[in-house]
């Protein structure tokens, strides 16, 4: 069964599902989009014998189960019809107001902007792209970047231009070059804090420089910020949205990493003109996000000690990250592999110093029952080879972190000799 392992292409995924009945004329925009390599790996790693460093799931210990039970019961007792009936496309008003107040307190966005509730931050990326990007337009992204967003851009026929990362964020000169060379750029997609997959946090100076470049070239920034509440060390860095006097930053947040991804509640803060268009686009997409989920999030924010809850999450993830890094320091052959030491988030990014194809390495690893995600999955041009891979520390249990890193170290040693 394990020998069947591979990263599925779209065609292979189709094969697994069986023979097509007719030759379906798929749209141009969707033809080239492949299933997320990560989600395909996750299907394999549902094999309980596999230790998965491939996911990005919250730790099972991180779910405030009792609070959610209590809150949900209250909502279904006090407001059962509102929780089950159709609701507004823009989102549950009490949640929108709560989020807006919290964000304005932190200087994120402006009073005259709009919060829209999304079915996960993923939908914020989807609808912003649908409303702004024509087929053939360019989206500039960090290289590597979050594959879920890259696939959204691809699914609207965007041309991806990746700009390499330095230790403190995107390479500015190359970003400006990309903007110059691509006058049809519509979006710069950035994950400034604990970037997925690299774990890199962009410096304040670079954030400001990115904003100035976007302004200068008349391009909007899509700022994806799912992880900033999961800072385990170091000082907070202000989101790009805090400088946004022009309303050119689309800010995406989410409850997925701090409460529950299964509820599918995220949000965007955007200028009113874009908010109106994204609302129209959301009407045609899913009408509104699950209202019970939105009510749970609102009541959680307003009745639970949220700061204490976040401190609890940070304690869990600080422990797991440090455990993984300590094991890696102890076991990984430091002459052949390097890795990032993020100050938060969920991921560590490993890079072979030599010329190693990490797709092949990941295949060897899964044969030893360890799942990691090969770096090519995160590249703007995912047909390139990558000598990097991504490791997640939030999902595995402590003993699996220890055992998994030890096994991975053995594979690295046997593989690179």
């Amino acid at each position: 069964m394990l020998s069947d392992y591979r990263l599925f292409t779209a065609d292979e995924a189709n094969d697994r599902l069986g023979e097509p009945i007719m030759n379906i004329p798929f749209s141009n925009r969707i033809t080239g989009v492949q299933p997320s390599a990560i989600r395909e790996i996750l299907k394999l790693s549902s094999d309980p014998a596999i230790i998965s460093f491939a996911a990005g799931n919250p730790s099972e210990d991180a779910f405030p189960v009792e609070a959610v039970q209590k809150i949900t019961e209250e909502i279904l007792t006090e407001h059962p019809i509102a929780a089950l009936q159709y609701s507004l496309t823009e989102g549950y008003p009490a949640l929108r107001q709560t989020l807006k107040n919290r964000m304005l307190e932190k200087g994120i966005g402006r009073e005259e902007e709009e919060i829209l509730v999304m079915s996960g931050a993923q939908q914020g990326i989807e609808l912003a792209t649908k409303c702004l990007v024509n087929e053939g337009d360019v989206v500039i992204c960090e290289d590597p970047s979050f594959v879920g967003a890259l696939n959204t851009f691809r699914s609207y026929g965007a041309k991806l231009v990746g700009v390499e990362m330095e230790h403190d964020g995107i390479h500015l000169a190359k970003l400006e070059q990309a903007l110059k060379e691509n006058p049809n750029t519509k979006l710069i997609y950035l994950i400034p804090t604990f970037q997925n997959p690299s774990g890199i946090t962009t410096s304040l100076e670079k954030r400001k420089a990115c904003y100035e470049l976007a302004k200068q070239y008349g391009v909007m920034i899509l700022e994806d910020n799912p992880y900033s509440d999961l800072r385990t060390e170091g000082e907070e860095v202000a989101p790009i949205k805090t400088f946004d006097d022009e309303g050119i930053v689309i800010y995406c947040g989410t409850f997925s990493k701090i409460l529950s991804p299964g509820l599918r509640v995220g949000y965007v803060m955007v200028n009113k003109e874009l908010a109106a268009k994204m609302t129209v686009a959301k009407q045609t997409c899913d009408v509104h996000s699950t209202i019970l989920s939105q009510m749970i999030c609102e009541r959680f924010l307003n009745t639970v000690d949220f700061d204490r809850h976040l401190e609890g999450l940070r304690t869990i993830y600080r422990h797991k990250k440090n455990l993984m890094l300590e094991e890696m320091d102890k076991c990984f052959p430091q002459d052949v592999i390097s890795y990032t030491r993020p100050e938060g988030g969920l991921f560590i990014w490993c890079t072979f110093k030599g010329d190693v194809d990490s797709a092949d390495f990941a295949k060897q690893a899964v044969l030893q029952k360890i799942a990691v995600v090969p770096g090519a999955a995160f590249l703007a041009d995912d047909t390139q080879k990558s000598n990097s891979f991504r490791m997640n520390f939030s999902t595995p249990k402590d003993e699996d972190i220890v055992g998994g890193v030890e096994t991975l170290a053995e594979i690295i040693r046997s593989y690179v000799k």
Copy 2:
């Protein structure tokens, strides 16, 4: 305040939201899409003084509140982590299997096809369109048809070709003509049972003929079937999907009208090749539908006496529909207006016999605090005038049905003289 009433255009909706910060270069596909006239009316009709016949919401009496409370508590007690964690894009396996078994029992679809859970049937329409329709391709629809679907097609740059309706469904000769004239047709969109907005049920013969035409011209059918469980009179008519030996019918179902629209759970049954592509498209759209919602639907289907529940809904809606029709028979001037007598669903479609612009009529009605939806909103070419309007009987209370129809009758009489 009421004198401010109008059907908002996209530009007007933007105005209401405030001044734009910058001149945003929206994508071509979204530029022409306007907010759903219905949802804009619904915002107005949140004024409690207005009697709304404009919505399509389930009756407040139709929600099985106690069962949902009990089921939700069980799920959050027995499987809290599964209900809050990330889940599979294709949907909750137990729900997919339950739905598939129920559908196969009724002859809908085939064993080798796939059920995918959607965030409402709206998302089934969205993802099918995204995967199949290029900008400039044609979608043929019944004229009038469901505005939410029409806006989805528009939002992907489709050209809509409307085919007029007869009392027993779409005009077949004109459908064939439309197929002949538009070789780039990708989809025929049909709501064969208790059509929204007309209330018309397509005859079995016409369903078969539509299927044969689709096969002959190599076009897929998108069969939207949200209402068939709400049959209050007459004999069931088999869905088009029951003839579908070729896998060319995309069948959309939903829990919105039979359990809860707020949970946002719908589904599609499609051939495996399209299922694989729609899964990829859903990954980039919202990753998966709210898993708690899916678990509630699955447990509701498997632990509640579902047939009895449906019989309860039919009793509610039979009563409301008959009450509205009786009042209309009694009060409406039959020489100036005609209307459909649907055997189920949620809507009655009224048509002035003379040359009346129903948009203007609806404006007069809302000034008298009655909301109806003017027919132009449902047309493939919504810049046309329509002498029809849609009335909903599921949402208003009994006394409001009686009072509202009486007031509407007065307006009709004063208006058409």
